[in-house]
């Protein structure tokens, strides 16, 4: 009996690891935007919702190949990120943080309402039946394994981009000193626009991974938005490595908590841990 328990605990830990990889990718774009532009996209998960609908419509309704539909979705959400910056963030860039929060909050409800009008409230899915991988008595869904692998590649790709390219270096530089950038021959607004499109593309990639595992509906953003935001805060807003680690911590709370109790309790424990962590390390688990 104890042996059986252990293998299910191991399964929960491993599933938590897979979930952590997905969370790490989901939080990446939001964290990047905050770290560089110093603005929180409260509507980040709603951008992912748009991406999920894009994959759904292109694949199911227009019969595009799945890979092409996903690439297009990433492009569409990148464009949304760019437009969000140009038309909503730029005018309030110098405003109070609370105003910036409120305008992106407004976009959240706008996108939700627009999606309800355009797509209705039905739950939709791609109708894919991805197999589960069985290892002994443990089982892992292929969608989660794929999501984990792609998420790690996405994280790695972003780090290489930020560290190895001129534009990536400029993105890190502008987060440290905005005002001196013109002396480097860099147009700050242009770097912000590129960063926003990149944040959007990451939200789009997250959408592709989510739509493999979850039904899409206009309020899906509310299931992931708070988690993604809390992970970023837990890791220290704007700290990409901290957010990466926090994603795994948070996912283990959900997964192991769900193993000992019920899956809903996993979320309760994870959020309770978050609140406690905010008392104990208000600037993030990994702040120096």
């Amino acid at each position: 009996m104890t042996e059986l328990l252990d293998i299910y605990l191991l399964e929960a830990v491993l599933n938590g690891l897979l979930l952590g990889g997905l969370f790490a990718l989901l939080s990446l774009g939001l964290n990047l935007i905050f770290g560089v532009i110093d603005v929180v996209w409260i509507c980040y998960a709603e951008l992912m919702m748009c991406g999920m609908y894009a994959v759904y419509y292109l694949y199911v309704q227009f019969h595009w190949p799945l890979a092409l539909a996903m690439l297009a979705a990433i492009g569409i959400v990148a464009l949304l990120g760019f437009l969000l910056h140009q038309f909503v963030i730029r005018p309030v860039l110098a405003a109070e943080p609370i105003n910036q929060l409120l305008v992106t909050g407004g976009v959240l409800f706008f996108l939700q309402a627009a999606a309800t009008l355009a797509f209705g409230i039905d739950f939709r899915n791609l109708g894919l039946a991805l197999p589960a991988l069985r290892v002994g008595d443990m089982s892992f869904s292929a969608a989660r394994l794929i999501a984990f692998g792609v998420a790690l590649l996405g994280v790695l790709g972003l780090f290489l981009f930020l560290n190895r390219t001129y534009v990536g270096t400029a993105i890190r530089a502008i987060s440290q000193d905005r005002a001196v950038m013109p002396l480097m021959g860099v147009s700050g607004p242009r770097i912000f626009a590129i960063t926003s499109a990149l944040g959007g593309a990451l939200a789009g990639l997250g959408a592709c991974l989510l739509v493999l595992q979850y039904d899409v509906h206009p309020a899906i953003g509310l299931s992931f938005g708070p988690i993604v935001f809390l992970i970023c805060v837990l890791g220290g807003l704007g700290n990409l490595l901290g957010g990466f680690a926090a994603a795994f911590v948070f996912a283990q709370f959900i997964s192991i908590g769900g193993y000992f109790f019920a899956i809903e309790w996993g979320y309760v424990i994870a959020f309770a841990f978050f609140i406690a962590a905010m008392f104990w390390r208000p600037r993030g688990l990994f702040s120096r």
């Binding site: 270096t169 890190r172 530089a173 440290q176 005002a179 013109p182 002396l183 480097m184 021959g185 860099v186």
Partner: protein, 234 residues
């Protein structure tokens, strides 16, 4: 090469520069001296277009700089080492230098310019993988100058390179500035350390309360009775 004709600049209601006229010829090293708050930093910020001139004419190599946006000034050949160095503290030394060579035309020559910079500042080569924020004040100043040289500028603007450094480091920095001038770079340098900078520059302007009060060869200004009394305290 660079010419300012009756340039004025203001921050809101506060006027920082009044009718400033100034010339820098190719190959020259020119100093702008004057007390704290005279408008020296503003003058350099106007030349790099970080501050829009309120009035007057700004020309570089016979091109009108007035309509050029700040981020395109570097591509015209003007590099600016700003007040307080303004390095990116969490980027490595080499990444800071990479930012100095950001414009597209600089990128093919990055490796070559990096060698030039490291030859001039061997200390930076030793520390190239270190975050710039961990450097000493003098090393940071070297890094800021090296960063500005990455684009192989026609004109180098230096804002108070000796500020906040130890006396030994001040000597070292002025020695480096002398070498940079000797290598043929055209330099416009702003300093409060009047005695030292006049030994490096061939000509100088005295700026006080936003107005040019005197100009001439450095030796002449050094011997001027008024400057010795008012600004050098002799």
């Amino acid at each position: 090469m660079l010419s300012l004709e009756r340039v004025s600049a203001r921050y809101g209601a506060f006027q920082a520069l009044f009718d400033v006229s100034l010339q820098v010829n190719a190959g020259e090293s020119v100093a702008v001296i004057g007390p704290n708050g005279a408008g020296k930093t503003t003058l350099l910020r106007v030349i790099s277009k970080l501050v829009e001139p309120h009035d007057g004419e700004l020309r570089f190599e016979s091109e009108d700089l007035n309509p050029v946006p700040a981020h395109e000034v570097l591509a015209r050949g003007i590099a600016h080492v700003p007040e307080n160095r303004r390095l990116f503290p969490r980027l490595t030394v080499e990444e800071n230098l990479r930012m100095g060579g950001f414009p597209r035309f600089c990128r093919p020559r990055f490796a070559e310019r990096l060698e030039v910079a490291y030859a001039l500042f061997p200390r930076l080569k030793e520390r190239r993988r270190q975050p710039a924020g961990t450097l000493s004040g003098g090393e940071q100043q070297m890094c800021a100058i090296a960063r500005a040289l990455m684009s192989d500028p026609k004109l180098l603007l230096l804002d108070e390179p000796s500020a906040g450094l130890s006396p030994v480091m001040v000597q070292a920095i002025f020695e480096l500035v002398r070498r940079i001038c000797a290598e043929g770079y055209t330099v416009l340098i702003v300093e409060q350390n009047i005695r030292q900078v006049l030994k490096v520059a061939s000509r100088a302007y005295l700026l006080d309360a936003g107005r040019i009060k005197a100009k001439g060869p450095s030796q002449e200004l050094l011997q001027s009775e008024e400057i010795r009394r008012t600004y050098l305290g002799l």
